[in-house]
Symmetry: C2
Subunit: 303 residues, 2 copies
């Protein structure tokens, strides 16, 4: 069955007591109340042949990506990593050296982001390598930034540049924007945020849908990654390729102006690509002023 | 590589700040400090062909077992389930009906034990069905019961009966001893506890090793499940088969006597099977008084 429709089915059957689960499935992380603390949790898997190719990329890259994808979810909520657990299904005959490399890949990023790997499960089977990682996080001082907070007239901004992340293996080497997210949320009053994993147009759609708004995106403003520039369809790659793991966020226009003047993220650029509008339409505004529907079309693992 | 040696490798490289991670890998759950609260977390996977056989047992049983194994970890710590997240790797062509059944299996136990499924990830791949579930829990009033607290002269007790759980599919239908564990820990001053998944002799060994003690086990006292009684090697099955998901715990002798008189668990029997002793030897004491080494020999998924 289609992943998206199964997830929609699960969501439709998920009814929680908001005193215990303030945020359930549908954001980058769920929020669970633990005593008087809010705790965030998310789980993501990486599968051989889907999210990496073991024979080509190696076990270390697979382990690293498992941790990186989850840290990117922590970034999307502007939170602070707390700890992680992982389960690993090892192919029969997996070597000790590869197992250690895989673990080193997880630890490399876990250590860098103060996210200790505190437990898990290892199994051996006839199948291919599958790593599932669950991450816990604490909200920052201003609380978690959700997908659902975008407001009409908000500026739509992104970090970094987009396109060709899979073809150039950036999806294996990216640095999760955890530190950048906390600076943005702490200093610029963000209304909403998501990390771009499915693709810029799809993930913008997730924010708009959760917030009940639409968006105008300026085609010329979309930052295309140099890796994608050589392609004839560079803009389409930037809007649709996915696996960029950059941040997309919305904030009041005056805050956006201050942010773009401050340049608080050092070498990581921030670009304003559009504006949140009333309604449900996503529109791509071309350089000559023509407007066309921005179809949420991205690279999906199951197609 | 061998699962056990990989886990040992990971453990040897896991050094935590005890103010943040009071209990790391090596118990049934890790303990993470979140503000002034202790939070418990564990992850377990179920893999087609290892922990279930999809074609034979069906998707609902697979989903149920994923939740049940994790709830059994919560029981082993005498804690209270808080929430769960799951990742699912679906075989290509997995039907919508099967996906819904798998989810229903998870929800069946999650709902029964007030453990909402708050998030996760669904992927499709060329491999077989793999479900990874992570569970969060809160300590009970007396705190988490660890494997490492067994003391010399403690009584060794178990719930239920042992053997043939895999052959008779009890491993798919068992009820996690969450409620029983909280009664035991709340009223009888337990020193240590574990859930019996690898096998009675192996899991007793885990408690003894973590506690730095040995044990004398009375062969005649070991409760053999009726399913295993017809086997000529019934005692060996009870000691080694695994996947019983009963509780093994130690407590002071006077508490054990009170517990055995009280019978506080209704239909679930409690049996004293032995005594914790100084040293590192695990001894099986036969009915005629002869003593033999209790070899930690269980059913392991990878052999």
């Amino acid at each position: 069955m289609k992943e998206a429709s199964f997830i929609e089915y699960i969501r439709s059957r998920s009814v929680f007591d908001p005193a215990i689960v303030p945020v359930g499935p549908g954001d980058d992380m769920a929020v669970v109340r633990c005593g008087d603390q809010d705790l965030l949790i998310a789980a993501d898997q990486v599968l051989d042949g889907v999210h990496f190719r073991l024979a080509e990329h190696g076990a270390r890259a697979a382990g690293r990506k498992a941790m990186a994808r989850n840290l990117s979810d922590v970034a999307a909520m502007a939170c602070e990593p707390l700890a992680a657990v992982a389960t690993v299904a090892l192919p029969r005959g997996f070597s000790e050296a590869d197992a250690k490399e895989m673990y080193a890949g997880m630890r490399e990023l876990g250590d860098a982001f103060t996210c200790p790997l505190v437990g898990g499960d290892v199994g051996t089977w006839d199948g291919a390598l599958a790593i599932s990682l669950t991450i816990l996080a604490r909200p920052g001082p201003g609380g978690a930034v959700l997908r659902s907070g975008a407001r009409v007239a908000d500026a739509v901004c992104v970090t970094g540049a987009f396109g060709a992340a899979w073809r150039t293996q950036r999806h294996l080497t990216f640095t999760p924007r955890v530190a950048e997210a906390r600076i943005l949320a702490g200093q610029y009053g963000l209304h909403s945020m998501i990390d771009v994993s499915d693709g810029l147009s799809i993930d913008l759609g997730h924010v708009c849908e959760a917030s009940g708004v639409g968006a105008d995106i300026q085609a010329e403003a979309v930052p295309v990654h140099p890796d994608a520039l050589k392609r004839p369809d560079a803009l389409a790659a930037a809007l649709g390729d996915g696996e960029d793991y950059e941040l997309l966020f919305t904030l009041p226009q005056d805050q956006a102006e201050r942010l773009l003047a401050d340049r608080p993220l050092g070498e990581v650029p921030v670009t304003r690509i559009g504006t949140i509008v009333a309604g449900a339409a996503h529109t791509l505004v071309l350089a000559d002023g023509r407007r066309q529907e921005l179809v949420a079309r991205g690279w999906q693992h199951d197609t």
